[in-house]
């Protein structure tokens, strides 16, 4: 779980605890990003930069807030399942954030 929270922090997402191994998270595109240091050929690849054009208009930026819930489950054989559920926000931004989060967790 700590690994997940660290990854969220890297992506400048905020969270609060809702329940047992359950966090509700909030992310605003354009407020920051993450640096994937392993990509040596493409040194500045930030998910936040892609959305930098949005942050100039505060009304649009607030409408693009992505809120989602993260729940950790235990599966069989010492395996864990991370469930991500969108609560609010544009669909593709949510999917893009999930991709960035899973890449940060080195699952993708």
């Amino acid at each position: 779980m700590m690994v997940v929270l660290r990854a969220l922090h890297e992506l400048t997402a905020c969270w609060k605890k809702i329940g047992h191994y359950n966090m509700k998270c909030r992310w605003i595109p354009g407020t920051g990003g993450y640096r994937e240091s392993s990509m040596l050929n493409d040194p500045v690849h930030s998910i936040g930069d892609q959305y930098s054009i949005i942050e100039t208009d505060e009304a649009i930026a607030s409408a693009n807030v992505v809120k989602f819930e993260v729940q950790l489950y235990k599966a069989r054989d010492e395996k864990y399942l991370l469930d991500l559920q969108r609560v609010q926000g544009p669909q593709f931004l949510f999917l893009d954030l999930c991709a960035a989060l899973l890449a940060q967790l080195q699952v993708i």
């Binding site: 609060k16 047992h20 050929n41 489950y73 599966a75 969108r86 609560v87 593709f92 949510f94 999917l95």
Partner: protein, 117 residues
Amino acid sequence: MNNPHAEDHEDATVPGFDIPNSPDSSYNNVHPGNEDDARDPPVVPPHLQHTLLSYPASADASDSIPLPQHVILNHLYIENREAPRSVVALGFSHRFRSKFVTVVLYKPVHRRGSTSS
């Protein structure tokens, strides 16, 4: 309350009954304490497996796709394919008024440590 974005039509709201958003400051980024981690996480519920996107492709060809169960709406689906792969599919189903929309995003997989040539 006027909101120009069509996105909000997705949640049918009655004026005056809108749930206010929780204050942004409530997202305090507190790390869970040790007592929280003492117990194991809850067991995986079985209904999460039955997403629209997890149905085999052949079954969808002849008939229309079945309606998604409400319990899996807005839950992320990730394609489970053997590595190595260059593209991964992410998707989820959500409700728009009386219909269901499934959104799929294909993203390239960045291989670590490899040089592009």
